[in-house]
Amino acid sequence: MKTRINIFLYILALGLMTACSKDDDPGNVDNIPGLGGDTWTPGPIDIWIRDSLTTPYNISAKYKWDQGELDFNRTLTPPKEEKIIPVMSAVKKVWINNYVAEAGELFMKQNCPKFFVLIGSGSYNSDGTVTIGTAEGGRRIVLYVMNDFRVKGMPGYVPFDSLNVKEMFHTIQHEFGHILQQKVLYNPDFKRITVGRYTSNWNNVSNTEANQDGFVTAYAMSAPDEDFVEMIAFMLTEGKRGFDALVDNISGTSPNGTTAAQAKDKLRQKETMIVNYYKDTWNINFYNLQARTRATIETMIR
């Protein structure tokens, strides 16, 4: 009985203590100062990004250094200011304008990734390779090596630079492919074309060996979704001629026993499914988009 009374008293005490909370006025919530440093006087670059990307497509491009967007174990640098508008206007020409021309303004506004992070240097990996683009969540795309970005007509352009340019567009098309494929899944038969060949060990496979097994690149072997968007990215950046040349040049039997004829057939099946996916799902003529995109890229590298 006594215990019960004690418990009652404790509860009473708790009630009294909490009852004492005084009225905390939150103050003027319209003016919370924040930690500062996230705004600056807008310059010509900020205005260009606002007018060309943010206002029409709700895309922002962060070019000022923010370590919080990046790996903390990589040595990286921000981009040179004189590279930002050339890179982003090339992105606009090759990627946005061509999709708008084929699929319409609304399609692009609804589906494009909204956030670009621009980095001047490459991202050096411990195995000696350099990462030149990453993306996550269909929203954020990080472009590296902007300080080396050169297209035809810029001082110091050498043909080797065309690799960097193509690689950059490959990254963007790859990530945009993910967004489309995550919104509406492709025909699951696609996964069965090269079933059993998907592997986490793809980074030890050369592109040539991957081609012999019916994959467009080695990275396409990592998963069916990656396979699907690597096909899109390769076909758009290299054009129909580039893709046909890749397929026609496959020779020999792969270490897994796939013959050249089988590999060619698999790649052609994948191509057909992608063309149909674009037609049926998004009402886009893929071959027209491919021809436009490749033509724009060629103006920059040839």
Binding site: L9, M17, G34, W65, T77, P78, Y124
Partner: protein, 437 residues
């Protein structure tokens, strides 16, 4: 039991009274956000408040000392000079900066500038290693701010920087090109001969520069004819190249070299601010190390080891002139004294190590007769044959390197550290290769 029943209500009573204290005034009269923003705007005012800008000296993680001049403007813009090369010392470059509260109030140079050249992970930009560059910073936490100095610490590589308020003559020294003249020492790299000879008032020294670590080495023969050398770190001021440890050979002391013009592959210099001199190429060492070739060869012959070269021959100003590094899967090349014996000849091998099946393999190389060591301190190589099969794509590279090795005048060897030698063509000192352990 009884005690408990007395104390429990008492304790509760105390709690109830104590819980009602309403006095919770904050220790500070402003919120943390407000105080941080105040500190940032105070720092910003200090940065902008120096009419002639700020001078700074940066010591990178690789040991190089670099000078900078910053002029901060109110609209997040900063213009700067740096003593990296004649371009950065002669032309102001504008980029952006901002102050931001990270874990501490921080100064971020947030678009590319001369400062970022030191930190750039691309080794082609600054001569550092790919992936880390010169190990430097462009994002700094602010440690202390006074009117005359601002102390900063790099947030990534811990680079310590002190900004010192510049006087009008400091800013003028950058603007009117004093610093650019100082940086004319970079032209020494254009001298194609291996030996760089400093000559002044009857004295002569061979110089070796390590531009990456900013060290200078003097080589000379002392009164008894013994070869001596001395190395010191150096840094630039607007009055020239200053030796951290002054050079002294017993008769002469050198503390400072000032560039006075580059012309005809010769750099005119002023020593210690008063004595004119020149730095020019020389085709033979100031005093040849007569025992060096045999010492180089026997170091490895005695331990059945080999010397390594990663870059091959530098010829007429071109690194890896024979494109050795373009051999498929090339890793490094070796010189292996007394590799094996055939028909009574114990031969040396210059071998090309490649990556095959994820491991290193010596698949082909050239065999050399036991080298000739001449009385005047040279080594001469004669080709004996080929080991293994040279890949078709490497045949011309392989033949060109052999032709260079067979240089009839032979080679000098210059010992640059306990475990490294430079092998320099005795014909004209315009071809050399570095051997390391």
């Amino acid at each position: 039991m009884k005690l408990t029943s007395i104390y429990t209500p008492l304790l509760l009573f105390m709690l109830v009274i104590g819980a009602c204290r309403k006095d919770d005034d904050p220790v500070f009269d402003k919120t943390a956000d407000e105080r941080i923003n105040e500190a940032l705007s105070k720092y910003q005012a200090a940065l902008i408040g120096a009419p002639d800008g700020w001078e700074a000296r940066i010591v990178t993680g690789t040991g190089g000392i670099f000078n900078f001049h910053f002029q901060f403007k109110p609209n997040n813009r900063v213009s700067m000079y740096a003593d990296i090369d004649t371009a950065t010392a002669g032309n102001a470059r504008e980029s952006s900066y901002r102050l931001k509260a990270l874990q501490q109030p921080s100064l971020i140079f947030d678009t590319y500038s001369y400062l970022h050249q030191l930190a750039d992970p691309d080794g082609n930009v600054n001569g550092g290693d790919d992936g880390s560059g010169l190990v430097s910073d462009f994002e700094f936490s602010i440690d202390t701010v006074t009117t005359d100095s601002i102390k900063l610490t790099g947030r990534f590589n811990n680079t310590k920087v002190t900004l010192l308020r510049a006087a009008p003559q400091d800013a003028a020294a950058w603007q009117n090109g004093d610093w650019r003249n100082t940086l004319s020492f970079q032209y020494i790299a254009n001298i194609q001969e291996y030996f760089k000879r400093l000559t002044f008032s009857g004295a002569a020294y061979d110089l070796r520069f390590n531009v990456l670590q900013r060290t200078i080495t003097f080589v000379w023969a002392d009164a008894g004819g013994t070869l001596r050398q001395f190395t010191s770190a150096y840094f630039y001021t607007r009055e020239g190249l200053i030796l951290e440890t002054p050079f002294n050979d017993g008769t002469r002391t050198i503390t400072r070299l000032t560039g006075a013009g580059w012309n005809n592959n010769t750099l005119r210099v002023t020593i210690n601010g008063n004595t004119p001199g020149t730095i020019a190429g020389a085709i033979s060492p100031i005093k040849n190390d007569l025992g060096a070739p045999r010492r180089w060869w026997e170091t490895m012959a005695s331990q059945q080891g080999y010397w390594i070269t990663g870059n091959g021959f530098h010829v007429n100003g071109v690194d890896d002139a024979f494109r050795m590094r373009s051999i498929p899967n090339f890793y490094f090349a070796i010189y292996w004294p007394e590799y094996n014996t055939q028909d009574g000849v114990t031969y040396d091998v210059m071998g090309y190590v490649v990556v095959a099946n994820n491991s290193l393999a010596l698949q082909f190389g050239s065999a050399w007769e036991p080298p000739t060591f001449t009385a005047n301190g040279r080594v001469i190589f004669r080709l004996l044959g080929t080991l293994g099969t040279v890949p078709a794509s490497a045949v011309s590279i392989y033949n060109n390197i052999n032709t260079q090795m067979e240089e009839p005048s032979g080679y000098y060897l210059v010992q640059t550290s306990t475990g490294s030698y430079d092998m320099v063509s005795a014909k004209d000192a315009r071809a050399w290769i570095t051997w390391e352990q």
